[in-house]
C-alpha cells in the first residue's frame, strides 16, 4: 500500500466544525469566541457554554500552548498511525484544551509543562493537521 493510499482518520464534521477545518486548511486556525463574554471554545458548537450567548465569532488563535499530558501508542489502531506515535493534550493560550501530536524533537523526561507552538503538517494523503512543536 502506497503511503498516499493511507487516509488520515476522518474529521468529525458536525454542523459547526466546517469553519474551523477551513481555517486549518488555510493554515490560520480559528476558534469560536463569544461576542458576549469573550470565552473561546473548542470543539465548535452552537453557543457559548460560559454565558449561553449564541452570538459567536471566528478568531485566529495565537498558536501558543502548554502540554498538559502526553502518551505514546505502542499498538497500531489506525492505518495512518503506525506505532510508536504520540498524542498530546495542550492548553491553548486562549483557554481551551486540544488533543494533537508533538512534532520533531521530544523532551527528555516528562513533557508536561513544556511550551509548544502550532505548526501545520500535511499528511501523505494531503490532509492538513494542526500539530505542535517545542517552543524554545
Amino acid at each position: 500500500m502506497a503511503a498516499t493510499d493511507v487516509r488520515t482518520p476522518r474529521r468529525v464534521m458536525g454542523l459547526y466544525d466546517k469553519p474551523m477545518w477551513e481555517s486549518i486548511d488555510a493554515r490560520e486556525m480559528k476558534l469560536q469566541r463569544c461576542t458576549g463574554c469573550g470565552t473561546f471554545q473548542y470543539p465548535p458548537g452552537p453557543g457559548c457554554h460560559a454565558c449561553l450567548s449564541m452570538e459567536l465569532e471566528w478568531i485566529p488563535v495565537s498558536g501558543r500552548a502548554t502540554i498538559l499530558s502526553w502518551v505514546v501508542f505502542h499498538r497500531q489502531y489506525l492505518p495512518a498511525y503506525p506505532a510508536p506515535y504520540n498524542s498530546i493534550a495542550v492548553r491553548l493560550e486562549e483557554g481551551p484544551i486540544m488533543i494533537s501530536n508533538l512534532e520533531g524533537e521530544t523532551p527528555s523526561g516528562t513533557w508536561i509543562g513544556e511550551r509548544v507552538k502550532l505548526v501545520y503538517v500535511t499528511m501523505p494523503d494531503g490532509v492538513i493537521l494542526p500539530r505542535f512543536e517545542l517552543d524554545r
Binding site: P9, R10, V71, F73, H74, Y77, A89, P96, I97, N101
Partner: protein, 406 residues
C-alpha cells in the same frame, strides 16, 4: 428581580454543593437473586472460534440463573431493565416479560433505576438483564469507529490525531496524575497484582495466574504509560439481578441484600476535550457522590468492608481511593503500597478480580460480587464478616455510587 438569586442558586448546584438526596430510597429495595453465564468456559470456546450464543442468549442464561437463585416465579416480575448491548424489546420478548416498568441502562444506573421505580410504586420486582457477545463479534473499543463513539464524542473526536482508544484517554489521565502527585508505574502495578490475587481465588475468573509488580513492569505497553495488565479483558457473557421492594424481598429471601444508598454527580464542562480527566481527575464529582452516599447511609469509608470500582482500566482504582476518601488526595500510591487492596490488604477492592482479571461485564459483574460478598458466598475470596460494600463508577465523568448492605 429574582434573577440574581436564581443565578447564585444555580452556582451552588455545582459538584460538591448539591442538596442532599431523598433518603427515602435508603433500604427501599433489596437484591433477591443474582446469576451469570459461564465466563470461563465461554472464554475458551470463543478463543477456539466457536460462537456459544449471542448477546441475548448470554442475558437469558444469566436471567435463568438469577431466577433460580431467587426462587421466585417469573410471573411476579413486573419490571425489566436491560443493559445497553441488547435491544430492550427483543430481550423482553425472549424472557417472556411484559412489565409495567421498563428501561435500558448501564449497570449502575440500572440498579438506581430499579430502586427509583420501586420506591415510586411503578414496580415491585424488577429483573436486570445484561448480555454481551463483544469477544465473538470483535467489538472495537479503539479505532475510527470506537464503541460508544455515538454516545461520547471524545471517543472519536480526536481521531485525526490518532487518539481514539478508550485506553488512551485513561493513559492521558494517568500521565497527568503521575506528574501531579508523584505516582509511579510500579504504584499502578499494585492494582493489577492485587486484582489478580483476588481472581486466583475465584473459580469464575478468566485470568487466575498470579502476577508480581515485576511481571507487570515487564509487560508491554499498549498506550504508554498503560501496560497490557492495566486493560480490561474483552469476553462474552451475561449477568442478571432481581431487585424487589424491601417487604417483598424479606418474604422472598432469607438473605436480602439492601441498596443502602446511592448517588450520582457528573462533570461535563470540557468533557469532549477531556478537561475533567486531565485537570481534576474526576475528583470533585467523586467527592460530591461520596458525601451523598455516605450521608444517606449514615456511614463513612471506614465502615466499608469491600470496595468495588468500575475498572475498565486500572487507573480508575487510585482515583476512586482518593475521590471517595479512602486515603488523602495524592496518597493513593502510598495507600496501594502500604495498606493494600488485594487479599490480606486493608481495603479489599474488586474482590472477584474485576474487569482486569475476572470478566469484563461493563460493571454488571461487580454488582453480583457485592451481593455475594454480603451473603457470605464467596468461598476462598470471602471477606470475613462483610456487612457493607461500596461500589463506584466514573465512566466518562459520570460518578455514580451505591452502598449495598445486609
Amino acid at each position: 428581580m429574582t434573577s440574581g438569586l436564581v443565578t447564585s442558586g444555580l452556582a451552588t448546584r455545582q459538584a460538591g454543593a448539591g442538596r442532599h438526596p431523598n433518603p427515602r430510597i435508603r433500604r427501599a429495595a433489596a437484591v433477591v437473586g443474582v446469576g451469570h453465564s459461564d465466563w470461563v468456559g465461554d472464554w475458551a470456546r470463543t478463543r477456539a472460534g466457536e460462537k456459544p450464543t449471542d448477546a441475548c442468549g448470554y442475558g437469558m442464561q444469566a436471567f435463568n440463573a438469577a431466577l433460580k437463585d431467587s426462587g421466585i416465579d417469573r410471573s411476579i416480575i413486573d419490571g425489566l431493565i436491560v443493559g445497553p448491548t441488547t435491544a430492550y424489546e427483543r430481550m423482553g420478548e425472549l424472557l417472556g416479560i411484559n412489565p409495567r416498568w421498563g428501561d435500558q441502562s448501564d449497570a449502575v444506573m440500572s440498579v438506581l433505576q430499579a430502586v427509583m421505580a420501586i420506591e415510586s410504586g411503578f414496580a415491585d420486582v424488577v429483573a436486570l438483564v445484561y448480555g454481551n457477545d463483544q469477544r465473538s463479534v470483535g467489538t472495537q473499543y479503539g479505532g475510527p469507529d470506537a464503541m460508544g463513539g455515538n454516545a461520547f464524542l471524545s471517543y472519536v473526536y480526536h481521531a485525526p490525531w490518532g487518539l481514539t482508544s478508550q485506553g488512551a484517554l485513561y493513559a492521558l489521565t494517568l500521565q497527568a496524575y503521575k506528574h501531579a502527585h508523584g505516582f509511579t508505574e510500579r504504584d499502578l502495578g499494585e492494582v493489577a497484582v492485587a486484582q489478580r490475587g483476588w481472581s486466583s481465588l475465584n473459580p469464575n475468573a478468566i485470568m487466575r495466574e498470579r502476577i508480581t509488580v515485576d511481571d507487570y513492569m515487564a509487560s508491554r505497553y499498549v498506550c504508554e504509560p498503560l501496560h497490557l495488565f492495566d486493560y480490561c479483558l474483552i469476553n462474552d457473557g451475561g449477568v442478571a439481578l432481581i431487585i424487589a421492594e424491601a417487604d417483598i424481598a424479606r418474604r422472598i429471601s432469607s438473605k436480602p441484600v439492601y441498596i443502602e444508598a446511592a448517588g450520582r454527580s457528573d462533570l461535563n464542562h470540557g468533557a469532549t476535550s477531556l478537561e475533567p480527566r486531565l485537570t481534576d481527575f474526576y475528583l470533585p464529582a467523586q467527592q460530591a457522590v461520596a458525601q451523598q452516599v455516605f450521608d444517606m447511609a449514615g456511614m463513612g469509608p471506614k465502615d466499608m468492608d469491600v470496595f468495588q470500582v468500575y475498572d475498565s482500566f486500572s487507573v480508575h482504582v487510585p482515583l476512586a481511593l482518593e475521590g471517595y476518601g479512602y486515603c488523602a488526595v495524592g496518597d493513593a500510591g502510598k495507600f496501594l503500597r502500604e495498606s493494600g487492596v488485594g487479599p490480606g490488604g486493608k481495603l479489599p477492592t474488586n474482590t472477584g478480580g474485576g474487569h482486569l482479571s475476572e470478566t469484563y461485564m461493563q460493571g454488571w459483574a461487580h454488582q453480583i460480587e457485592c451481593v455475594r460478598q454480603l451473603r457470605g458466598e464467596c468461598g476462598d475470596r470471602q471477606v470475613a464478616d462483610c456487612r457493607n460494600v461500596h461500589y463506584s463508577s466514573d465512566v466518562a465523568g459520570k460518578a455514580v455510587s451505591i452502598i449495598y448492605s445486609r
